[in-house]
Symmetry: C2
Subunit: 377 residues, 2 copies
Amino acid sequence: MAGPEWESLEQCLEKHLQPADLREVKRVLYGKETRKLDLPSRAFEFASERDFELQGYAFEAAEEQLRRPRTVRVGLVQNRTPLPADAPVAKQSLVPMLVPPWATTIGGLFILVPAMPFAFCTREKLPWTEFAESAEDGPTTRFCQKLAKKHDMVVVSPILERDGEHGDVLWNTAVVISNSGAVLGKTRKNHIPRVGDFNESTYYMEGNLGHPVFQTQFGRIAVNICYGRHHPLNWLMYSINGAEIIFNPSATIGALSESMWPVEARNAAIANHCFTCAINRVGKEHFPNEFTSGDGKKAHHDFGYFYGSSYVAAPDSSRTPGLSRNREGLLVAELNLNLCRQINDIWNFKMTGRYEMYARELAEAVKPNYSPNIVKE
Amino acid sequence: MAGPEWESLEQCLEKHLQPADLREVKRVLYGKETRKLDLPSRAFEFASERDFELQGYAFEAAEEQLRRPRTVRVGLVQNRTPLPADAPVAKQSLVPMLVPPWATTIGGLFILVPAMPFAFCTREKLPWTEFAESAEDGPTTRFCQKLAKKHDMVVVSPILERDGEHGDVLWNTAVVISNSGAVLGKTRKNHIPRVGDFNESTYYMEGNLGHPVFQTQFGRIAVNICYGRHHPLNWLMYSINGAEIIFNPSATIGALSESMWPVEARNAAIANHCFTCAINRVGKEHFPNEFTSGDGKKAHHDFGYFYGSSYVAAPDSSRTPGLSRNREGLLVAELNLNLCRQINDIWNFKMTGRYEMYARELAEAVKPNYSPNIVKE
């Protein structure tokens, strides 16, 4: 298996296929073509100076008589943790400071990936639990509030939350900050993995905030955190609550999930008539103490490489190409949110969804004495 | 947009990519490689004589100490309606007779695609409602019973059902026939489309049989009929009831759904730790009377082309290549059903699924006075 040196599916296809074939391959794989976005040349200059990839695409919708186009921009940050995992905690916490200049290239919604290394593979408590902070007024939130106000942007900021009001427990949380600079609210990771080295259940429990949707100036948004993308019901409830864009900030590695990555957030956009934004980090994180991975192999210091490939998927089953598998990047997407309702009215998955039947069937299925509907000869 | 003359994504990639790149592209797109199956040369000779495509792949699982491999074979038939839509109804109903010789190449489970043209685009009642027949003892069921017994196969047979016991109503039904030749039971289409020319709601209503799973000698199977593939909850309930293989017999066309096709059944296999079999027909069906398509365009006689591309997806996110977009074909897949529980134990989506929360949230959400969880500034 190739490591992170293989840049991306898209690069490979663009390089080797003739235009006519490339068009068909992309149509089958990515649906209706997304328009390339005109971003200012200074944005590309900045990207080149700082050695990150910058891509922009626009999703369009049909004209309507009674509604104007509802065009918003989202910026997805695909980063690597810039300091080694054994750097002092306080220094690593400041890493989001590196992000603001990128922000000037967009406007609208902006999603950060946390600066914390993905240390849950170690199962060590200190120093990693020191990254935990208050969602309401921790340093990352305060930093993002300034950022949001300065650039007139909504910021989504995933953090490790320490809940001082409730026994000092930890949560995996995303804080949503309005473009006014106010903390609009927070949402917590609903599904916690027990797979591979994702030992998160050692640190925090399933979220207790349900499926909140945030009404922002740039549309109604929700955050389906990381492993929650494997659960179609999680996407569905955000959508039922009205989300037009669902962000999926993730940290996931090549050996485990790469062939699921293009499928899940994309399926969610289709099934729920909304936009989804799948964001992964890049790079490899090295930890000071060795750990094992429950796979019979020798102890080691690496978690594996994050394969990037961040993308945006639309309700009409189109999607952007992915960012690369190995470089930091910013993916800017212009979304006409009118597309959500237009596709809803074409495909009618909510209308034909029969949620009453499923509420009833699920309520039965969770009973300890449930007897599955199995037909035998 | 290319029509059906562009054979397939896989053919194009195989032709133009070098082996090293092809391997990576397939890994990202299709996961772990599936082994090619050794099928007897007489099967290929027969396929060549009858001008259909024959492909075979095997999905493997880890060895276990307490369970033997549970290896079964499924055969997916990708066909075109061999007679013109205006041929006499009685003649068209006999079309499944063309299928049996193919069956000898497999063993295990076998899925037919109905011989009836997809006439729901016309909204005409006669002659199309004459295709409707009893699930228990209609001619197609009787034919399939002989087929099943003769070849020691379970047969899944999608039909247009006439329900004589309940006011002569019609249903979109799949009949499951045991390898003993007995009718094991039936399952009905749970979600009915109102999209494009899929005017099925003119003919039949949402199924009333819930989510039955059939215990066969070759594993526990379920049938998610056609448009039901867009509904993640439909797949989920079959899986909760214990399905190890879920068939999705479909009839869907290029302009509408081709970029959704590789995503949905695949996502369902991943999300539910089961195998899914996505089956589409090929060809173009021409109807005697012109009809319009609710898109402002002129009346016409064609429904559009069915793009084939049938495939099998596995719980580990691997999948077979698709059959072609334009030829009839038989896709044989050997499945080690032990893989379902193995992947379940690795990824734990059922354990982490929180269905109790969703049962509660959905029950609330369907109430007429439901107030969505929206956070405002």
